[in-house]
């Protein structure tokens, strides 16, 4: 699938894409798996999709503007994938992140890891997501129902379930 792309890099073991248009994560996963993975070689695919909610911190949210730092974002995402590749035996890893104007129900981010075994796939997928949330230069500005705007000030800890 070709993207209206604000940045894309591909290595033998992974791919990142920063996209300006809505994407369907399940179609992306299907397409990527067919083109980048060898059937029978991987036994585990762990994936995460972050989707825009219509509420945040007790308020209704009607839209969001997602800003990024072109160049640095791509480099950070690639570095995060490279680190994961060094730490876990991954067949491949994929990150897709949306930028620009987003409305509730639309996917924001997709992270996926393929490996021979499930522990590596699970660990690497979650690590990629937490590294992305803490290090990749993206910023969210929410539009509330009364048309006022506010910047999201920080990301929450993703390892502590409520």
């Amino acid at each position: 699938m070709e993207h209206e792309s604000a940045g894309q890099q591909s290595t033998s073991h992974g791919q990142i894409a920063i996209v300006t248009e809505a994407f369907d994560p399940w179609i992306e996963l299907s397409t990527y798996e067919k083109s980048h993975l060898t059937a029978g070689h991987y036994g585990a695919a762990a994936t995460f999709v972050g989707t825009m909610r219509d509420f945040n911190e007790g308020d209704n949210v009607s839209a969001m503007e997602l800003e990024h730092y072109p160049g640095m974002t791509d480099a950070q995402l690639q570095a995060i994938i490279d680190e994961a590749q060094a730490k876990w035996p991954l067949d491949s890893a994929l990150i897709i992140h949306r930028v620009g104007r987003i409305v509730p129900g639309e996917p924001i981010v997709l992270v996926a890891c393929w490996s021979a075994h499930r522990a590596a796939a699970f660990d690497a997928c979650r690590h990629l997501m937490e590294a992305l949330k803490s290090r990749a230069p993206f910023w969210k500005k929410e539009t509330l129902n009364d048309q006022s705007h506010r910047w999201v000030e920080k990301n929450t800890d993703g390892y502590s379930a409520p």
Partner: protein, 77 residues
Amino acid sequence: MSIKVKCFASMREYLDLSELEIEPGGVKNVADVWLQVAGDKPMPDNTLCAVNQTQADHSFIVGDGDEVAFFPPVTGG
């Protein structure tokens, strides 16, 4: 030559500044760049800095041709 300065998100709004080139004269490090572009506006506590798209602290040495960025904590994903 010059130093390119970029600001993102709430920092862009705080300084009313998206991108600017400044003369490197008198600039030794990131903190000096801030003084040049922000004047007497204090740097918010949680401000992050990057030099040539890699995170750096305020004492990081910069000069001709460098790209310096200021931004708040990241909130993607």
